[in-house]
Symmetry: C2
Subunit: 258 residues, 2 copies
């Protein structure tokens, strides 16, 4: 079985042109099948402000009304996705951009309007990897934005961490799958003010204790839930840290274990 | 050799939600390998106005400065492309959206700044059909927006008619290729005010005479030049007319011949 690396990058890299270019040139050189998932960064919020579309958030999640969905589709699937694909091509990495609608690769269901109406937000119900596998075997690197569809013609805003996790689970039957969440810190930190306090391994048991001790809270909870979803569903390796964890042998990061 | 249908649709269909939905439901049912190329319509101009980005045109062609390229990338590759792909999926047509950067499928060179600086406008220099052929053989329908790249990381605004023509020429080695330009009229008209005055066949000789008689002028000239480029480079069939030419047996349209 070949190893497939699934790598998710977020706003901290996407919003910084130099950081993005540097990441992509290193990513392009990674050997073997690989797949990139990107979040949105600040661009969507900036465009919404320019267009006088109010940005509504609830507990860190965007409420996606019709106008916001248009903005997200333009920014995520248009500007960011095509910029990344073009830069990968310049680095001789043959990439193809995807939303979940493309190749019917990720089918979601619109989140129920109660208790909170998130609008056009999608929860993933099915991942179809067949055509992606064909492309991977032809040395193509799929690049996913955080948009899915409901197979009835509706695009849906979907969490990029969840997309990465569900794709990893979907591929785990056919590849030895590794999932890397790149973010702005060295990993899960014991002390949020100390970049060297990385917890190198977290398993189901220590995870519960870290939550009870309030060391893991807020935005890290859904991220870690996505990690455990993957590691508990045949994904071989799940890591969180700076992109260095992919490119340097001696770097600090957090590994999630069963 | 299998027959590949390459179909280009323009603003008149894209700007009209009902017309687009109707076209896509019929397009989805076309048998055999097919590929769709879409223009931009009025959405890019509307977004530019909302964002206070001046729209500059020269002889009907958009001058693409940096802000305009961003807008075009968001609208063409984002909003329009993903809307079409999601609607095709709803009609059980398994589509994947493409710019020329995706799969390195269309490489352009930035148009020289003299005599007129069109900004980030690309003239096609290479079409790579290999990965598209793989997808077509897996029953995937590629959907192209009018954006290409220069293989050095730069996206470029590129005429959709030209993209359709160059793709048709590129595929002609591997498929019996048919190229259909859908637009708002029944075909090339002898009298622009009479929808029934369709010239059913135009060849190189009659084309020259129609230009000399000023029956073909303005925007029809580049469109017909794209038609002749295709028919003179091994494309099997080239037609211009309303989408009916694809779906109805008794409809008027213009066929281009050598």
């Amino acid at each position: 079985m070949k190893t497939l690396k699934i790598i998710k990058i977020g706003g901290n890299i996407i919003d910084d042109g130099k950081a993005l270019a540097s990441f992509l040139s290193q990513f392009a050189q990674l050997e073997g099948p690989k797949l990139l998932v990107h979040g949105g960064g600040k661009l969507a919020t900036q465009l919404a402000q320019k267009m006088n579309v109010p940005v509504q958030m609830n507990e860190g999640r965007r409420i996606t009304d019709k106008d916001t969905l248009d903005i997200i589709t333009m920014v995520y699937a248009g500007k960011i996705n095509k910029t990344i694909v073009a830069q990968l091509q310049a680095n001789n990495c043959n990439a193809i951009g995807f939303s979940g609608a493309d190749g019917n690769s990720i089918v979601s269901v619109k989140r129920p309007a109660k208790p909170i109406d998130y609008g056009f937000a999608g929860d993933i119900k099915q991942v179809n990897t067949k055509i992606l596998e064909v492309l991977l075997h032809h040395n193509i690197t799929p690049v996913f934005c955080a948009i899915t569809h409901d197979k009835n013609g509706q695009l849906l805003n979907t969490n990029a961490d969840t997309i990465a996790s569900e794709l990893a689970v979907g591929f785990a039957k056919h590849f030895k799958t590794e999932l890397y969440y790149c973010f702005e810190k060295n990993g899960v930190l014991k002390d949020i003010t100390d970049e060297n306090s990385v917890i190198e391994n977290i398993n189901t048991e220590t995870y519960t204790r870290l939550i009870d001790a309030s060391i893991i809270a807020d935005g890290m909870l859904p991220k870690l839930n996505n990690c455990f979803h993957a590691i508990n569903n045949n994904v071989d390796k799940v890591c969180i840290g700076k992109p260095d964890m992919l490119f340097k042998t001696h770097s600090l990061y957090t590994t999630i274990q069963k």
